[in-house]
Symmetry: C2
Subunit: 159 residues, 2 copies
Amino acid sequence: MAEDVVRAFGFLSLGTRMKRIGERLQADTQKIIDEMGVEIAASQYPLLAAVERLGPLAVGDLADALGVSQPGVTRSIAQLVDLGVLRAEPAPDDQRRKFVSLTAQGQRLVDEAKEAIWPRIEAAVADLCGKLDGPLLDQLAAIEDGLTALPLNRREPKP
Amino acid sequence: MAEDVVRAFGFLSLGTRMKRIGERLQADTQKIIDEMGVEIAASQYPLLAAVERLGPLAVGDLADALGVSQPGVTRSIAQLVDLGVLRAEPAPDDQRRKFVSLTAQGQRLVDEAKEAIWPRIEAAVADLCGKLDGPLLDQLAAIEDGLTALPLNRREPKP
DNA sequence: CGACGTTATATAACGCGTTATATAAATCGG
DNA sequence: CCGATTTATATAACGCGTTATATAACGTCG
């Protein structure tokens, strides 16, 4: 088995490594969602959660709240509007702005997620790294090893 | 200023957040490399470093060493071969396998990087998160705040 | 030895992020 | 009040990761 170069390089490849871990966590999270029979991509939940938490919001404000670029959220919104979970309507006073809100179906989806999915994900991630402490690189190694030993979707199944 | 939803959700959106931080680190790293007038993308360095560290290696072994998929490294290799820094030649005994090695130009590039670029990056990242300790989410918050306060390319300029 | 399964790499299609730029609406200044 | 600038969103093109599948070479077995 070849050496894990990205890990071996420590701080030098920290960006690559964090991105890699993030993708792995997202992939495992997607598995949990799939197992629960929901049709929404894991990556869309932050957007739905932001709309629910902050109320109807313009595209640019959503981009700020999510920390991603405006074209990125514009595209995600378009997909979720197509799926019928989001609605986008121009602001009455300023036709440039578009306010995004949950449809009834979207609200149901979020309610379900809050009830059944998010607690499960949060518990699994907390199980993986809630107890961690110490230097960053050690924690990252523990996360990678922990995921290899037992992926997120095998952790803390709903009691 | 809108609330940072991904941060607020804690473990629930940890994957999204780590990916986001990784991308930000990579982007800052790219700035450092650009400032030093080198024409290689930051994302290619792990591949070059792996080839240098582990010697001539087959495509699949490189994928293992880097923790990415085989098609991913196949594509990166193709680009670096086009740039003239890598060479790929079929193994004499097994024509399916392709061994990847540094060209003279590639070796020069790596030597330069080891001399001037990697130490600078490592110092900047160490400055950002070498002292961190404690729970993971606190460290991530410190990293994000630290990058906002002073991006990597402003840290520890070469003495 | 030839067919068949296996293994290594290549290609295709897609996801989701980015930057750069286009378009349309609002605002500002003469 | 109209032209110029600014602001908000949309679109296009690309980067770099993925999975699924095609192709070619190897090994094995009847």
